[in-house]
Subunit: 148 residues, 8 copies
């Protein structure tokens, strides 16, 4: 579907969405025009779907990142609970997982007090949730894009 | 540190790194020049640190995303093990957590066979790791930036 | 009930249901007729109950084999839940076990997406199931008949 | 790769390896010759790899079937431990799994005393195994081939 | 309350309820009459409350001894559930414990099939029991009276 | 092996080792001589192996009964650890079990302080024990012989 | 907010609420009057909020201290259950925690029998509590104020 | 040992170490002199062993209180590990407990970053500790003295 040169371009863009065609071309031994064509193709294939600024959430005061394992009180609550979680802005990632708990979500809060409030007033009141188990990320060692 | 208008700008950029000054200005009732000044300040404060293209990893064949809880065989292995994990390209996120296991990492693989290989040949051979527990994300319900 | 020669015959047949009487006889120092008599007896005793072709399910696209531990929401759901599980063709084995969970079932799916669907749309909707815990068999090291 | 008729044939053979060409043909609206051709193709593609007699192990006195979760004392013991387990005839299935334990094996024993012996004298003496957790299958509710 | 000689007597009787006064006296440097007086006192103090024959339950066919941890579905079920368990003759010991489960009971059965039946038809149907976890005693290493 | 009358006799003796032949006979519609013959046979078959006085251990000050789950640091420590446990008089019962821990032992102590000492100075110093988990029996609801 | 001298004063007072101004002054190279001023300030800032006598609860017969993990039967029971626990005098500390259980409380009882009663008659009857897990503090190694 | 009036006095002092003799007397219908005599006796009996100021640790910036369960790598490490923990000022309470982990300690830190440092640089480097499990007290609902 994509070749090694495409992968190289994607690796560059996954670290800088605004890399210039020229600079990408230099890295890949391509003309800027050729890079442009490849980018168009990757966008048309919906492999590149957009861009986002990288923002230092810690500096903005979001210093308590946590993972919360969610247990349901009945087994078939996946869709209903997911929708309710989506309404909570602090819940930034939601996965339906194998293993002990049904959902593993990532939550960004300012501090432990904020987390307490999100947990007890927003998450635990959702119908269908029986129990939650919180893992606070004491330190995020690294977080990066996959290299192809 | 930052005001409500800055937050609005950050929310826009977290969904589109390439939003035009004019369009951002329209959303915030600011002139493009005023937006430009604010962006400069946010970059200078190292609140905006860069940008990344959003790439559909699933479409590129990375269809098995998993979370792996890592237990150490001795308690003080945090730094040594983290460094070794950083050398593995499939490990895209690493957190030092409270709770059952010491590290919770996110791993992106093409399929279960690829995961088997990463697990048995790359992760479990790291000195200091006693045991791993894998949670495969059967479905990623959502993954988004926090809204300020 | 059966002697050492019977065991030898059963070991041969557990690896090849179509082994010829003559070949079995050669392995056991028996005439083909004697083998025939013993086979008749083993069938009459309902020790040999049939035969099955060995089919490479992995090659047919069933690449995600998993074990699922099932917890009930009330303790006495064994019979009711078992019956419901039997209606799901992907569930190929069901055991009532000691230990943490009440049932341990084996499920054959094409991939993780298929498993997600079986789990959330077929298994977790069964009345009486409170929670499931999935163990994906990343690799099946071996699977064989017992040798007597 | 295979069509609906092939699937029907495989379903029949997975329940009776010795089904006659004619009988299979009747079920599928095919001539015996056409069935023969399809069987040859399925064997050539290594989709059908052999056959096995179905033997009532319970009647032969193997009344304690169990699943044993195996924890390693070091993380990278998968290959070494698997090989050692393969030498134990009572271990009939071995899977490398996600979740709590590293290996999930199925063991067939005559009774609890036999299992005690296999566990303490054969399995737990293998270098690299730290701990085992046994789930006895009090009752095997069903065990069947997948239907395609 | 009791002295060292009393303890010696109790140790003897805990191994043989029918030990003769004379033999006990020999062990303790007492006359048979003095032993008699002490026994009377120990019975009056309700320290010795009776006697029981020691019966080889294994030889009588009770070959599956198990411990079952019982979890309640509501927290305050201790008295109600205990009473119901007392009606089941196979349940020979019941303890209200700290830790994971609420009750830890000992169950004597003839074999795993008998245990399956006791578990699914007698124990798990008791109102208030949410879940059970069975530990089969593969081997009882020893079982003795405490020595004072 | 034994008939219903034998069972009745055993039930009586399991509650009173000193029941008179006459009284047993009355309960079973037998002469004392016939009871005598049956008792001789049950002793000769080693079904009745002795007798023990029933002693109120709680009254003697043994008020903290606990169950201790023992985990090994290597898997094959069963025999060695069992022998060491047998040397500790407070350990009155030892079982090799399926499930989480390898051994489940019963320990009789005077109080929590005594248990602390037995645990830290006698049990946890045994070579081969990695970890223990203690369940204190807050109340022993009942403890009785099985009725045949 | 407070300086190193304040910290030194607080450390002294956390071990002796009645330390004299003069003695504190000697330790800190301050006049008694200066100490007095600082104390007034610390009280005004509500950093020092009172004093308590240190009482040997063990000597008063409270010999079973335990920690009890509380699981809710529905997720949003934090406030309601906390209030009910506050009514039980033996519950001296209550924390809303991350991890397995929702609340971790400390309970002071005279002995295991008293704990049994508090657990089954006071705590487990609270509406909203599904399950409790008790950790008895066999020995309190130390308990002290933090040093600043 | 102590009577109801003593208990009343202790309850008062456990909330205010500096309560005046007169005020205590009023509460208990005693003269100040009688209160004085009782206090002397309680001190002589070492029931009252001192006093401590109550300090608002949260206001001083210690906003992350946590409980840490400690698992040993060998079973008999209680005394050695306890001593090492005593050297860490942030560890304010240490209990040797029944249940899953061997020690349950309380740790007072300024924030999650401080906790990370205490955990990885002070606690997990202690020889004999295999693993820790952290429960952050998101909110301390209450913390009080027992009332007699």
């Amino acid at each position: 579907m994509i070749d090694e040169v495409d992968k190289k371009i994607l690796n560059i863009l996954s670290q800088d969405a605004k890399a210039s065609l020229k600079w990408i071309g230099n890295q890949c031994n391509l003309s800027a025009a050729a890079v442009h064509l490849r980018l168009k193709k990757l966008e048309k294939q919906k492999i590149i779907t957009g861009s986002k600024s990288v923002i230092d959430t810690y500096k903005l005061g979001y210093q308590t990142q946590s993972f919360i394992g969610i247990y349901f009180d009945r087994a078939n609550m996946y869709k209903k609970v997911s929708k309710a979680l989506y309404q909570i802005p602090e819940v930034v990632e939601c996965n339906y997982t194998t293993g002990n708990f049904s959902l593993l979500v990532k939550v960004m809060c300012r501090d432990n007090q904020h987390l307490t409030q999100v947990l007890s007033e927003k998450i635990q009141v959702i119908d269908g949730i029986a129990r939650t188990e919180t893992f606070i990320a004491l330190e995020q060692t690294f977080n990066r894009s996959i290299q192809y």
